[in-house]
Amino acid sequence: MKPEIRIRTHDFDLFYGAHHALKSVSLEVPANSVTAIIGPSGCGKSTLLRSFNRMNDLIPGVRVRGRVELSGLDVYAPGTDVVELRRHVGMVFQRANPFPKSIFENVAYGLRLLGVNRRAELEARVETSLRRAALWEEVRDRLGRSALALSGGQQQRLCIARALAVEPEVVLMDEPASALDPTATARVEELVLELKSRYTIVVVTHNMQQAARISDTTAFMMVGELVEVGETRSLFTRPRQKLTEDYITGRFG
């Protein structure tokens, strides 16, 4: 049985002004699994990830060509409601970026945007999200305290909880553990594995071991091109491309 495809890009190009950052990328992201994007720094991993929820729109001078589809819908079609799109595609950033508000308000914010304002409902959904992000036990008795008082690892899990609260279909993570210590990194990795039954997860990482540990599918990029994509284990053990082999054996990058 062919797996359901959640995100599909077809011959997708992106330019920052004159800089051709993504070159004819065609990628399929299967639903309810973890897809890792790896590649040397500056190859366009973040750019590709941010194309899925159109975060690149915020940068002046960005042009795109080709198609990105979310569950079959054209993300860059002229009539697309970007705000609606982003509610379906959550994002976690490289540096944890909780709002300078309370822990509770951080998670509740997305719900408030959706018009949820009843205290009881907010509380229930904040708790669910914090539990899913494996943070509930650590913060349950200090939900009113500032999120900025949490440790880096806790802040990053809070950002994950914040993204989960609005029940997105896809969660995009851009090097979510690169600023964390090994223990916190391990917790985030565990969390990704727990979340994949419910969400489609795309995670950018420059850490190949991490990609091998947590992903089902791996995509390898270089200088704006998608070099190879495949089932994670076979990509790491039997790469089809010479470039991939060179990269995963540490010959460059």
Partner: protein, 298 residues
């Protein structure tokens, strides 16, 4: 990637270390420089200390509760106070704040978050030009624009004049502090599906609030001591009046009138008025420091 190897035979050659005269010269220059800048720092302190000392020496003797509670007495009678001028200044500054803060903060936020192109450049340029207009000119302009059509001097006209003086400061410093809000906050909100305006309202403005409050208080402190723009607008009033469509007393104008008057006790009261005004402005500045310390900028 190949490692960058230093080319052989091109190691850096250290020039022989100089000792003696150049080192001495450098040290002398050093001392001169530190001395000169220290002296300038001291020179800055002197006028301030003189002003404070003078105000205290001349103003304290007449300072008592009556001064805050009573109206000015008619010529010839002793005593009395400037209660109406104190309240008047609070009302005038209040009116100015009601006008300048929403407009100024709004414009500053717009410049920082949305302002692009010619319109933004025009707004910035206008604010810069406005901050350079002498306050007496603002007074004359408001005289023409508000006082003449209304047919009389009024607190409203005074408030408008002070607001015009506050606006440029508020606009430009609000723009600056809003720009300081990290992009990551905006991205976090937008990625959750927040429209631009909600991102600004819910995340950016709260994060910049301490800085915005500071800039408003600074503008307010400046405006509360302005005299010239009030002479043509709020005028002054020797009686108790809370009506915004009537002339209104204010501390700076009270000081101005009393200092010029040919009566000794009025002159003494002018000193006391100056002292009270300075205390008020100092209080405002202290408030500024407090808000900035309480809620540090992001």
């Amino acid at each position: 990637m190949p490692q960058a190897q230093p080319e052989p035979g091109r190691e850096r050659v250290l020039r022989p270390l100089h000792t003696g005269r150049p080192a001495l010269r450098r040290r002398v220059w050093d001392a001169c420089f530190v001395g000169a800048s220290g002296l300038s720092a001291f020179v800055v302190m002197v006028p301030l200390a003189l002003v404070v000392w003078h105000l205290l020496a001349k103003g304290l003797p007449e300072l008592n509760l009556d001064f805050f509670l009573h109206l000015p007495k008619p010529v010839g009678e002793t005593g009395g106070g400037m209660a109406n001028a104190i309240v008047g200044t609070l009302i005038l500054v209040g009116i100015a704040t009601l006008i300048a803060v929403p407009v100024g903060v709004g414009a500053g936020v717009w410049l920082a978050e949305f302002g692009r192109g010619r319109l933004a450049a025009a707004v910035r340029y206008t604010a810069d030009v406005m901050s350079g207009i002498p306050s007496i000119v603002v007074g004359v302009a408001v005289y023409g624009l508000v006082v003449v059509p209304m047919g009389r001097f009024s607190a409203l006209a005074g408030g408008v004049a002070l607001a015009l003086l506050m606006l440029p400061t508020i606009i430009r410093s609000t723009e600056e502090v809003v720009r300081l809000v990290p992009r990551s906050y905006r991205e976090a909100a937008l990625a959750l599906g927040a429209p631009r305006w909600r991102t600004t309202q819910d995340v950016v403005i709260p994060a910049a609030s301490a800085g915005i409050v500071t800039s408003c208080l600074l503008a307010l402190a400046r405006a509360s001591g302005e005299t010239a723009p009030l002479l043509f607008t709020a005028l002054g009033n020797r009686f108790w009046s809370l009506r915004v469509d009537q002339p209104m007393a204010s501390m700076p104008v009270f000081i101005y009138d009393y200092a010029r008057a040919p009566y000794d006790d009025w002159n003494r009261q002018a000193w006391t008025g100056a002292l009270v005004l300075m205390l008020l402005v100092t209080l405002l500045s202290a408030l500024v420091r407090l808000t900035t310390r309480r809620a540090p900028r992001p």
